[in-house]
Symmetry: C2
Subunit: 444 residues, 2 copies
């Protein structure tokens, strides 16, 4: 499937805050247009047609043929862009291939990737002659409802559309699966001097050819500064993975998302951030060993926070990679090892002796066990190990990395190294033992 | 698909060595009949018809309805078993369901599981009215060629069959996919007083209805003591996994297969053997710490050998389980940890001090890294991590478990604990670093 992106408008309302073309306006490290292209690339779309108008040259120059994004870009210029976005959408008829379905997206609407993914999946069932429109019936959640195009819907059919509809139960999200029928309808509307996309879509609704797909997830029309801020907020929120550790969810993300917001506009790659997090572990170990446990503890927690940033940046800027995930997993282990070695050394050279040696060794052995167990479980059963399913009450014990590093921070700040090491040793091995028992009842 | 097992004969030639019914004769912990049922169960076959003759009651009593094997067993008694195995095979016509394909196997032929798997896969293409016969054209590898039924084959068609054929290029392995055509052909032969299975099969060959599937792998007709011994030898050999560690392949398997041969006839489960291997690690650690490194080293190597036995027994007796694999992986890690802790303690309490402490910690951290890397690689890329593909020359460095435990054994026997711990620390982390670099070039 090919995608058509409408990027012809002038973007007047954002003019006071941004001087260039609105499609190229940056939002958390990517221009609006880039973000939409990459969102769709992740859904398997490789060919894009960008309809330009007001800023034809600037956009072509900025994105080129799409090589840097790993996609193929083509441009259509609509010189009559001032008439309305229906004319821009209709410009695609020059490129249309008989029988094809295409995605039509406004370049200034921002969607959480999963929304686009499920929309494209829903398109598979669309019949010839019909058009699919993403709609939102969670009216209480819609941003700037007044500005939206309203829809009177019956089950999954759009009956009437209009900005000033008084009776409505959904709104138009500005994301379509178009067929020849859409282009025909636009042509008819234009012939009657009705130049907006909605004019063409209305006609389809009247003929009973407008199907609706109701979205579940975040989307927004970025039109002014408040909506830009809201988009930023929601995109950042969407970076929290559904299965986050408790400490991570309650504490670390509050800081890591703020850092991600700042770092998004830099060129730092996720792997570089992984390295920074690792070096902070080494610094923490060094502080524990020879400077002060207080700084050791704080640096460990800082590393833990930054350990969330690499993944957030990767998801936010579509930079996820298999190697990045592996690199992060291995360096996290080494970071843990370094800190425990630093703590053990400190205790040993203080009052510890042989007891410190043994506790340190046992605590160190506990560090990789949580990950090791999860990965082996996955390799064997093909299923993700979900702590909630197997750990029972034990999931509240901080034996995962976010929890362990928090304990280490507290141990450092309150200068309780022996106690912390003993605690780490006990909970990490107890967790493994519990998992072996619990899983044994369920895994065959 | 259902399977028909012929278990009607008397088994005269093995009489001097075994008193009971031949189908119930034990071979490495399982009776011939059980082994064949379980081999087919692993290929997805759940319903079996056993044709009995000479030992009807004994066989029924021994296997029952098949609950303990996780399959469903039905018995057909052929009172005229003395006439020949064609009559026994024909007995299945009472149970035959119109249009079905069925597997027909002699209960005293033993096959490597992969042979049966690929045979059953090949059966999918078999046309109505045809019969598929497993045949072996690697004549130089066939056991007791003289006793075999020979086949003159043209590509994958059997032209002539007979024990005394002078011109032949394959032999009959006694494994069929039968259809109605086979039963009809047997009926015709019996009407002419020809009672052997081969008599029926010959007729099919003459009509051009006998298709051949050429096996690749081990099979044998267990008829006498030498063939029983050969079956034992080949089954044991088939337990060595294709991707075995070098030390394991060159040293450990020589001992572990011998142990497996002995332990196969006991009731020890793979998980119990895993536990024994783990306790040997604890004993090794204890010896290192307080008795003598010599015994510590020997026990470590013994544990390494027994670490191979659990998997061998599991494969040999069809006792493989997901939980067993997980249990083994986790206990192996704890075994490693224990031994390194024991060695570190010994060095420390001798002359080591803080240097022993640090080296011990770093060596301990290296122990889980090989597995951790492999599992994470698999989870991320979906591919098995094959050391040969990524480790280059480094695959000859003993950084995997079999190699590490061999180093520990040598370190103990020659009383070189500090050197061994340093070596373990260096090679395990160097291996991880090398893998991170190598994989980086290939993984996206």
């Amino acid at each position: 499937m090919r995608a058509v992106l409408l990027a012809a408008g002038e973007g007047k309302r954002l003019r006071p805050f941004f001087q260039g073309p609105k499609p190229l306006m940056h939002l958390l490290g990517l221009s609006l247009l880039e973000r939409n292209i990459l969102t769709m690339r992740d859904c398997g779309i490789k060919e894009f047609i960008i309809v330009t108008g007001c800023y034809d040259e600037e956009i072509r120059e900025f994105l080129g043929k799409g090589d840097s994004l790993g996609v193929s870009l083509k441009y259509l210029h609509n010189s009559a862009w001032k008439l309305g976005n229906g004319v821009s959408a209709y410009a695609f008829h020059r490129e249309y291939r008989n029988g094809e379905k295409f995605i039509l997206m406004m370049c200034d609407h921002i969607f959480e990737p999963k929304v686009v993914k499920s929309f494209i999946t829903a398109a598979e069932k669309l019949a010839e002659g019909e058009v699919l429109l993403a709609a939102d019936k969670r009216l209480e959640k819609v941003w700037d409802l007044e500005e939206c195009t309203k829809i009177k819907a019956e089950t999954n059919k759009g009956l009437y559309l209009g900005k000033n509809l008084t009776e409505y139960n959904a709104v138009d999200c500005g994301l379509f699966i178009g067929t020849k029928a859409l282009l025909n309808s636009l042509a008819e509307a234009i012939a009657e001097k009705k130049y907006n996309l909605t004019d063409g879509v209305k006609r389809l609704a009247e003929k009973g050819k407008l199907k609706l797909h109701f979205v579940e997830g975040f989307w927004i029309d970025v039109d002014d500064l408040p909506s830009l801020k809201e988009a930023e907020k929601m995109l950042l929120k969407s970076l929290i993975p559904p299965k986050d550790g408790l400490i991570s969810k309650w504490i670390n993300r509050r800081f890591s998302l703020r850092l991600t917001k700042i770092l998004a506009s830099t060129d730092l790659t996720p792997n570089q951030i992984t390295l920074i997090s690792f070096f902070l572990c080494l610094a923490s170990a060094w502080c524990f060993a020879v400077v002060s446990p207080f700084w050791g503890g704080l640096l460990a927690q800082l590393s833990s926070i930054i350990d969330g940033v690499d993944g957030e940046i990767a998801r936010l800027k579509f930079l996820k990679s298999n190697y990045g995930a592996l690199f992060d997993a291995i360096l996290d282990r080494y970071g843990d090892f370094a800190i425990v070695i630093g703590m053990t050394y400190a205790w040993f050279s203080g009052t510890g002796g042989v007891f410190a040696l043994l506790v340190g060794l046992v605590a160190l052995a506990g560090m990789p066990m949580s990950m090791l167990f999860k990965e082996k479980f996955k390799a064997i059963s093909g299923k993700q190990f979900i702590p909630e399913d197997y750990d029972g009450v034990f999931r509240f014990v901080p034996a995962n990395r976010d929890g362990r590093l928090l304990l280490i921070m507290l141990g450092g700040v309150f200068n309780l190294l022996p106690f912390t090491l003993i605690l780490l040793a006990v909970i990490s091995h107890f967790q493994t033992l519990m998992r072996l028992v619990k899983v044994g009842n369920q895994l065959q």
